[in-house]
Symmetry: C2
Subunit: 271 residues, 2 copies
Amino acid sequence: MNRNHSLLGLVNKLAQDFDLSQVELDAVLALPFNIREYPANAEILREGDRPSQCCYLVEGFLSRHKYVREGTRQIMSFHFPGDIPDLHSIHLAHADHYLGTLTPTTVAFIGHAAIRDLTVEYPRLAACFWRETLIDAAIFREWIINIGRRQAPGRIAHLFCEQVVRMKQVGLADETGFPSFLTQTQIGDATGLSVVHVNRTLQQMRRDGIIGPGGDRVEILDWGKLVEVGGFDADYLHLRKDIRSPAEAHGNMNSTLRERRGRLGQSPGPG
Amino acid sequence: MNRNHSLLGLVNKLAQDFDLSQVELDAVLALPFNIREYPANAEILREGDRPSQCCYLVEGFLSRHKYVREGTRQIMSFHFPGDIPDLHSIHLAHADHYLGTLTPTTVAFIGHAAIRDLTVEYPRLAACFWRETLIDAAIFREWIINIGRRQAPGRIAHLFCEQVVRMKQVGLADETGFPSFLTQTQIGDATGLSVVHVNRTLQQMRRDGIIGPGGDRVEILDWGKLVEVGGFDADYLHLRKDIRSPAEAHGNMNSTLRERRGRLGQSPGPG
DNA sequence: CGTGTTATTGACCAACATCAAACTTAGTGG
DNA sequence: CCACTAAGTTTGATGTTGGTCAATAACACG
C-alpha cells in the first residue's frame, strides 16, 4: 500500500472506530479524489452552496463559521488533518455555514456519489462515517456549554484543552503545547469574546503560569491547571481507549473534574 | 396500517427526507418497541450511561443538558414528538449528557440492534436516520451562534422562532404562538442567561408588542419582529420544500434576513 | 523600509450576573 | 373552600464581566 496515499489519515481515523477488514480499508483507499491547495484565509465552501463532494483535510487548519451581524462572526469548529469537515453535506443539500482555511491548506475532494456507494456496499463503513459526524455534533454540544456557561478564562482554557487532545490524535500536539494557528481575533470568534478581552485573558493566563508567552506555539506550562480552569473532560470526544490511554498516563485527561450537578432535575434559580 | 401506531410520527418524519418505498416504511413500523411514561422533570438518560436502546418521543417535551459547575446547567436542545433525541447512542457508546423530561412524557424505546439491522438492510433508511442526526448537529451549530454572538433579546427571540418552526412540523405550533412548556429558568439555561435577565428581557419583548403576556401559551403578536430580533433564518433546519412552503406563504420564514458578512475572510477587530 | 496585520493598552460604559426579597400561582390536604 | 406549601415570576439594588472605542506598539513580509 502506498505510504504516501493522501487518504491514509482517513483510513487510520476510521479504523479507530471499528475493527475494519482489509477489504473495507482498501475500499476507502480506492475512493477517487482530487487534491487541491488553498492559501490562508480562503473560502472552501459558502453558506448556500450545494456541494457535490466532500472535503477531506490532508494538511492545514480549517474553521467553520457564520456571519451574524455586519462584521461579527462566530466560529463553530476547527478542523485538523484527518477530518472531513463537511461530511454532513452528503445528506444535507445546502451548506448552512462557511468553511474556510486558517493556514495554507491541502484538501482532497471526494465525490458524494463515491462515498454514498461506499456506504451502501459497506454498512460498517457507513457506521464509521456516521460516527464521525456524531462526534462532530458532540463537540458542538460542548461548545454550547463552553460559551453558554463559562467565563472568559474557562472558555479559552477549554478550547486549548480540546485542541491538544484532538491534535494529539494526529500527532500534532501533546500536553506541553501545540502549534499556534489562531489569531486572538479568531479565538474570540470561537469563544464569543472580543479580541480585547481575549488578549487580557491570555495575559492573565500567562501571569498565572498556565501558558507560555506565545509565538509559533501555544506552550502549556501547567496542563493540570488548564484542565481545571476549563472544566475539561475529554469524554465528549468519544476517543477509543487505546488512543486515550497514553494521554491518561501522561497528564490526567479524563474525568479529572467530572463536575457535579446541583439539585435534582432542577436548575436552581435565586431564592 | 394501524393509525394509532406509536411510530407513525417517525415514519412521517423519515418520509419527509426521502421518497421511501412502502417496504421501507413497513420495516420502520415493524420495529419492536416498548412504551414508557415519565412524569415531568424525570431523567431518561444520564451522563455516563451506556444505553442499548434509543428513545423515540411520542408525546411531551424533552431537553438535553449538562451540569457545568455546582448548580449551573446548560440546556443544549429541546425535543418534540417525532424526535429521537439519543439516536447518536447507536454509534457512541456512552452518553455525554443528560436527557430529561420537561413535561409528562410518553416515549417508545427501540433497541439499538433493531435499528442497526434496519440500517444494514435498508441503506436509504440508514441515510434517513443519519440525516436526522445531521440536522440535530446543524441546530447545535445555530445555538453556538445564538449564544456566542447575540444578546439577550436576540437569543430568546431566536429560540422562540426555532420552536415555532420545529413544532409546526408536527402540528403543535404556528406563527401565532406555541404551547409554553418552559419556565424562565429553563429559557435561561438554554440561552446562557440568568433567570432574572430572562424575566426582564421577556418583559421588554412584551412591551415591544412582540409577544403576549404568557400563560399556557407563548403568544406571538408580531412574527416579523420576532424573526428580525432573533436574526432568524430557518435554512439551518433543512426543511423540505413541501413542508416549508405553507410557512412561507403565511409569515416569511426563510431568508427574510440572510445576514450579510463584513469583510472578506476576516472578522474585523477594532481599529 | 513601507505597509498591513496582529497584539497590546487605557478609558469608559453596557449588558448581564448576583443577591435578596416579595409576590403569584397552582397544587395539596384538611 | 381555605390555609399551607412549593415552584415560578417579578422587583430592586448593586457589582462584575466583558464590550466598545481609539490609539499605539510589535511583527511579518515584499
